[in-house]
């Protein structure tokens, strides 16, 4: 959403990039030979673990975008609960339910902990923030388009 907060700058951006895979478009398979991928969110279930590995293989520069991707943040709050997978699922699907209270089992399994991207794959650039501001995202994209690695010194801020 903060990406879309670039507002009118999106129009300039559209002329300079080719968007090949995104939640805001309909291509379903992550394509090979991607120059830059911005990944948001922590890795929390088995499906996401597979996905991030595939994204890494097919991407030259992988950007970890936002506090959930960089630190686990709110997604990682469940890590502080003992036997977090069982107890969080039980609360949501058994204890607060009137009918058929049972943990869903025909869905991707949760990982023991929700973890930041760099625990699973190599990350080339970290952009923290909850969310990172539109200005910061625009700076990172502008630098990458110019062929430079963004300098995050004094630009990096959590929360």
């Amino acid at each position: 959403m903060s990406f879309l907060d670039q507002d009118e700058r999106l129009i300039e951006l559209a002329a300079k990039i080719q968007l090949v895979y995104s939640p805001i478009m309909d291509v379903k398979v992550f394509p090979p030979n991607v120059d830059v991928t911005l990944v948001e969110g922590a890795v929390a279930n088995e499906e996401q673990l597979e996905m991030i590995k595939q994204v890494r293989e097919r991407t030259k520069i992988l950007v970890s975008l936002g506090d959930c991707a960089v630190t686990g943040n709110v997604t990682g709050l469940r890590n502080t609960v003992s036997s977090s997978v069982e107890s969080t699922l039980k609360r949501a699907f058994v204890e607060t339910v009137d009918v058929n209270g049972k943990v869903p089992d025909e869905v991707p399994r949760l990982l023991k902990q929700a973890i930041p991207l760099h625990e699973v794959v190599k990350v080339d650039c970290y952009v923290p923030g909850c969310p990172p501001s539109a200005d910061l995202i625009n700076y990172v994209l502008t630098e990458l388009l110019a062929g430079r690695m963004p300098n995050m010194e004094n630009r990096s801020k959590y929360g």
Binding site: S2, I11, L19, M25, K28, T96, D98, P131
Partner: protein, 474 residues
């Protein structure tokens, strides 16, 4: 049983797939809208001080964080047992108007209009907002501007567009609205109003060519639920719950939202992380109701602002007995609501009490339980907390706008699948239409499962023995 999967579903908020199950004769038995992410807010918030809850729970979502902030702050108001000052009430409402405008603009322009303007069967690589910028730059610019208008209201009030979580506090808001910020909003209001009226008239002009979509996209009778004002007008922040049936008859009115558990139950299915709320008097799974823009326009006696009321009359021509039941017309309802929110924005900014300095009634824990209910862009949102004497959270339940529509989602994808699945095979046309009906609801799955994830849908086709016979990915 045969089965087809669409995976992932795109241009929606969150991660989902659709599975379609066939009978022996190859016709569709049922389709399931499956949500595959989960975070666990209801558990991990235990032990946190209650006043942190707006900040933590607003992270449920990047599109409607303000609705979570409001529902959470209201639950906290309940815990500290104060009535907030009217000034704070007005400013919270103003922030919410900004939120609904930007969220509806996003849904209509950025996510759904590519289908309407580029066509349902356009090349998937261009059928998105960037394709729109290329082909219809002026139209795309309008969408960007309208969304920006809403986001700026939030930024002017709270200092930040997304997760501006330290401004809303139990007992009110932290700082008043300055006159110069108010003037800035008022200065850009006419342009936002112009864009909305123009878009409404464009959309209405297209409806004749969209008869199939109106007819087949989640067009079925359900109940409708939401908040209304004491006069039965359109309400997004407070008020009482009204429920109408498929014929538009009020079946329950003036229900206390704090006692939601008396009339809303929650059920679980093993194949989705999204729960299935139902209307208790009808039981599960018969107690299907819908929430959100379409539902709100179905339950109200009037909107309560002149331009929106005029549009409501036109809108209701698409229904019977005042009830419009095609899910496709959520798009239409969303535009009418944007108009209403713009009129309300002006009304609030012209109220001298919006500029009063006293905006925060400070108090500590006075009750062991609190419930906050608001109408998020996507429908009724409920936060329910229990605390100990020190104000540490001991128990949380949240029912999210999108969850309320879960039973209806499954009916809608089944209806579309029945119409478009032929000869046990998937085709692009089916995939696009399954996604388009899901998109018409404007789901927010991060919210619904209290989970984060990339926005995506997956279609899988299973035969009568449960064997996967086709899967559609692009």
């Amino acid at each position: 049983m045969d089965r087809i999967d669409v995976s992932p579903v795109t241009r929606i908020e969150g991660h989902a797939k659709v599975s379609i199950f066939l009978k022996k004769d190859g016709t569709v038995k049922e389709a399931r809208f499956q949500v595959t992410d989960f975070r666990g807010f209801e558990k991990f918030c235990e032990g946190r001080p209650f006043y942190e809850m707006p900040s933590i729970t607003s992270r449920t979502c990047g599109i409607c964080p303000v609705s979570h902030l409001l529902a959470s702050a209201k639950a906290c108001d309940d815990i500290v047992a104060v009535n907030i000052p009217r000034s704070a009430d007005l400013l919270r409402r103003l922030m919410h108007m900004g939120q609904i405008i930007q969220s509806h603009a996003l849904s209509f322009f950025h996510l759904s209009s590519p289908d309407l303007l580029l066509g349902m069967d356009a090349d998937p690589s261009v059928r998105n907002v960037f394709g729109l910028i290329e082909k219809y730059p002026e139209f795309a610019k309008k969408g960007i501007k309208l969304r920006k208008f809403g986001q700026e209201i939030i930024e002017y009030l709270a200092g930040k567009r997304i997760h501006s979580s330290d401004w809303l506090v139990p007992g009110g808001v932290k700082t008043p609205l300055s006159k110069d910020k108010s003037e800035k909003i008022l200065a850009s209001l006419p342009e936002a109003l112009g864009i909305t009226l123009e878009t409404l008239s464009m959309f209405k002009g297209k409806l004749d060519g969209l008869k199939d979509e109106i007819e087949d996209f989640g067009n079925f009778p359900t109940y409708y639920l939401g908040l209304v004002t004491p006069e039965g007008g359109l309400e997004h922040y407070d008020g009482k719950i009204r429920i109408v049936d498929s014929k538009g008859k009020i079946v329950a009115d003036n229900l206390d939202p704090k006692k939601y558990y008396e009339y809303i139950g929650e059920a679980v299915e093993p194949w989705s992380y999204m729960k299935f709320p139902f209307y208790k008097p009808l039981g599960y799974p018969n107690g299907v109701y819908r929430v959100g823009p379409l539902s709100r326009l179905n339950i109200v006696s009037r909107c309560g602002t002149p331009l929106a009321d005029k549009e409501l009359k036109d809108f209701r021509k698409f229904g019977k007995g005042g009830v419009v039941q095609s899910t496709f017309l959520y798009h239409y309802a969303r535009l009418v609501e944007v108009l209403f929110c713009l009129e309300k924005t002006k009304e609030i900014l012209e109220d001298s009490e919006a500029y009063v300095d006293n905006v925060w009634a400070k108090a500590s824990v006075n009750r062991s339980e609190g419930v906050g209910v608001a109408e998020a862009p996507r429908g009724t949102l409920i936060h329910h907390y229990k605390v100990n004497r020190e104000g540490l959270i001991t128990w949380v339940n949240m029912i999210i706008a999108t969850e309320n529509n879960n039973l209806a989602y499954n009916m809608a994808v089944t209806q579309v699948a029945k119409k478009y699945v032929t000869k046990k095979r998937l085709n692009e046309g089916l995939l696009n239409r399954v996604e388009a009906v899901v998109r018409a609801f404007d789901p927010c799955l991060s919210c619904a499962t209290h989970a984060v994830g990339e926005m995506a849908l997956d279609v899988l086709l299973y035969d009568s023995e449960g064997i996967l016979i086709d899967r559609l990915t692009r």
